[in-house]
Symmetry: C2
């Protein structure tokens, strides 16, 4: 089941070069299986939730998640850039998404009084109602696909792992590795 190993399955050769990636460290068989399982699971789960929410709420998972995040904010509102950061998407993507959600009446835009460039994305009452209505089905789907299948220990491990991975990919605060190579 080759994957990331176009050359050989041997153990890594001695590294005789400077620093970065002269002879790449291929994935071991175990790592390949893990990576393949990761790709499969994330693909299937995202597809599954997209279909579930498209059916029950009329929008893809990301859009639903935007509403969820907004609903947890003080005035059910957030500046566009903040919302983009909290949901790990680009401002452009968010702009398109909010335009669509606005057309559906779940979200409304408001100008920011202190910064004339700024815009707030505000969850409307209709948006909150739609969330309340579709939340049970959604949480059930997440449970059935994920939590109900994992032991408590696995759930704990999953949380820790995902926090590490997310932390490592945050665009902000590079700090740690080789900032001079970027």
């Amino acid at each position: 089941m080759g994957g990331m190993n176009p050359a050989s399955d041997m153990a890594n050769d001695m590294v005789t070069d400077t620093a970065a990636a002269q002879e790449p460290r291929w994935l071991t068989d175990e790592e390949q299986r893990t990576w393949l399982a990761y790709v499969h699971a994330t693909t299937l789960l995202e597809d599954h939730l997209d279909r579930q929410l498209q059916r029950d709420a009329g929008m893809p998972h990301l859009y639903y998640h935007l509403l969820v995040v907004l609903s947890a904010q003080p005035q059910r509102r957030l500046r566009m850039t903040e919302l983009a950061m909290k949901t790990k998407i680009t401002r452009s993507r968010l702009s398109h998404a909010v335009a669509r959600l606005e057309k559906n009446g779940w979200v409304r835009r408001e100008d920011c009084p202190s910064d004339k460039r700024g815009q707030f994305a505000v969850l409307t009452d209709g948006g909150q109602e739609m969330l309340d209505k579709s939340a049970p089905e959604h949480v059930a789907a997440v449970r059935q696909a994920l939590f109900d299948r994992l032991s408590p220990g696995q759930q704990k491990a999953l949380g820790e792992i995902m926090e590490i991975v997310a932390e490592g990919l945050q665009p902000k605060e590079v700090g740690a590795d080789l900032p001079w190579l970027r």
Copy 2:
């Protein structure tokens, strides 16, 4: 940090109803954190790999993965439906993807002699070369984002968890839970 709990944070009420989902079991705080971390990590990682591969190989991650799977097959070829199943995508999506990859010269289509409906997707020599060329950068990206940040125990746990989740979402062999409700 509300998420899936529009009503309350109290423990689950006593269930007084028939079977499925009358009063949904909301996610606990811990489960909400885990779920949020999962969404963040998978979003960021897929975006990261899409950008890395778009830059280094001129295609998104899924397309690259299609080539990887093909390259591991006996004659570097697979029937469309088999390739779709192995990569967990729909036949339609695969059709579009292969059309694009064919235009780029990485893949070629071939008729199946034994089934006149069938088509093989075949990885071309050019496709294999491009894989060989971009594999080092890609494996490095996967390592840096995932494996290098996890302990051996976490890697093992991740593999097991993802296999469970993927297994549970396979469209085939429903079997286990409540097939009569679908």
